[in-house]
């Protein structure tokens, strides 16, 4: 540890004040952005739809935008897969996917290399494009 110390000193900056200053600027920037958005809210408020009415189902029922991609995927599930009910199968798949994401570091345990990173970049781009496409599709349908 002591042998690496000079090296570490050379290619690093102290947390305070150098890095703290950067973080401070980020916080101020986001804070100002929040205030600007708040100022816009005085003229264009978030607003409300008509009050909740359990007896009046709207034509296009949608979840929040961050669940829209999942919701849109659920629409394409056939009514019966492998003897299970379609939606139930899809939800089980979703739980499996979620568990895989949570436990991902225990599934991908090899030391990292450039090739693996390239695969991860491609995977991420495909996933993001897919999610955005499904969200937009869900939003317009």
């Amino acid at each position: 540890m002591t042998t690496t110390l000079p090296e570490e000193k050379k290619d690093s900056v102290p947390f305070y004040p150098d890095h703290f200053r950067t973080e401070f600027y980020v916080v101020v920037g986001i804070g100002v952005l929040a205030l600007v958005i708040g100022g816009l809210g005085m003229f264009f408020p978030v607003g409300l739809q008509p009050p909740a009415d359990p007896l009046d189902t709207p034509l296009h029922v949608k979840p929040e935008w961050y669940f829209l991609a999942l919701y849109q995927m659920l629409k394409f599930v056939p009514s019966s897969i492998l003897g299970m009910e379609g939606p139930m199968f899809a939800v089980v798949m979703m739980v499996v996917a979620v568990l895989a994401v949570v436990l991902w570091p225990f599934l991908d345990r090899k030391p990292d290399n450039k090739n693996a990173m390239r695969i991860r970049i491609v995977l991420s781009i495909v996933a993001v494009i897919l999610a955005i496409a499904l969200t937009i599709w869900g939003e317009v349908s």
Binding site: P14, Y16, V26, I37, G38, M42, E64, V92, D112
Partner: protein, 324 residues
């Protein structure tokens, strides 16, 4: 107490305090007698009136509607004249101290810091925290996505508390209380707007941070639990969004919650249990609103704070992962 060993200094300080008190009492007496006179003349004009006339109603709630005349005046007055008084007392004390002790004056902040440090020995801990090296490779913009998420959480906490002051989590009053926040509460529309957009921003930043960590392979050994706690924080953020979305109690909120909880209800074996737990019954109702409100403002924040603390401590311990 060195003060009591130095009669001159003590006398001067006491003289300053007495002078300040005298001014304060005189000012209070003057305003009180003026108010008394007003009341007396009003009582002569109106004999059998039980409620005070509108122009004399203190109306402590009017600041919400914007009629806040004379509410800030006493505070401003006390701030201005109180500052003068404190500056005067401080000047007397400082002069006396320099004069009697024949020593250079030590600023009050230095004294306060020394006082705390003498007792709790914080400065070694703090200087160790401050000197913690941050690697230069971590000075890129994509390393601050997680920090932005954390800051947005703080923004959500602050604006959420402000909204909670006026929001009423019942089926009968939720909708009107949001209307009240938007139309009557001063800056209420701005606060709601910030809460709304910072919520969306928090989810976006959370996902962006997760993508960054995934692509750079920062989740690999020894940072597995960092990833796990981070994904749990993402789920908590989504739970924040899911529970918060119902609270306005409008059509969109109601039906989004209906379809959202339906998805949970489709799970095998525990589906119905989840449905009943979330909806407090078979349908989304006022009871659901109360359940979601409790989850939104108490359960989820506490869990999030706990996981954030764990997340940050692990980052502190392991440092930032070196990219390939």
């Amino acid at each position: 107490m060195t003060l009591f060993k130095q009669p001159l200094k003590l006398t001067l300080v006491l003289a300053g305090v007495v002078l300040l008190l005298a001014v304060a009492v005189a000012a209070h007496g003057a305003s009180a007698s003026a108010a008394g006179l007003q009341n007396a003349s009003a009582a002569q004009n109106l004999v059998s009136v039980e409620l005070p006339p509108p122009n004399q109603d203190d109306c402590l709630h009017c600041h919400i509607g914007g009629e806040n005349k004379n509410l800030w005046t006493p505070l401003a007055r006390w701030t201005v004249f109180g500052t003068f008084g404190l500056a005067f007392v401080f000047g007397v004390y400082r002069s006396a101290s320099v004069w009697t002790q024949r020593k250079a004056w030590k600023p009050l902040t230095t004294r306060a810091v020394e006082w705390v440090d003498e007792r709790y020995e914080l400065s070694p801990v703090l200087s160790k925290l401050a000197a913690k090296p941050v690697p230069r490779f971590a000075m890129k913009w994509w390393y601050c996505l997680g920090g932005i998420t954390a800051f947005l959480f703080v923004v959500q906490g602050l604006t959420g508390i402000m909204l909670a002051f006026y929001y009423k989590p019942t089926a009968a009053e939720a909708y009107t209380s949001i209307q009240y926040i938007e139309n009557e509460v001063r800056f209420g529309a701005a606060i709601r707007m910030i809460h709304h957009w910072a919520a969306n921003g928090m989810i976006v930043m959370c996902l962006a941070h997760m993508l960054r960590v995934f692509i750079m392979g920062a989740y690999k050994k020894p940072r597995e639990l960092n990833w796990v706690s981070g994904v749990l924080l993402l789920f908590l953020t989504l739970l924040f969004g899911f529970t918060g979305y119902l609270l306005p109690w409008d059509q969109r909120a109601y039906w989004a919650t209906t379809v959202g909880t339906d998805i949970g209800g489709a799970l095998p074996a525990i589906g119905n249990l989840i449905l009943i737990f979330l909806r407090v019954g078979w349908d989304v109702s006022g009871a659901t609103l109360g359940r979601f409100y409790g989850l939104h403002i108490i359960v989820t924040p506490i869990l999030t704070l706990g996981f954030m603390l764990a997340h940050f401590l692990m980052i502190r311990k392991l440092g930032i992962a070196r990219p390939l």
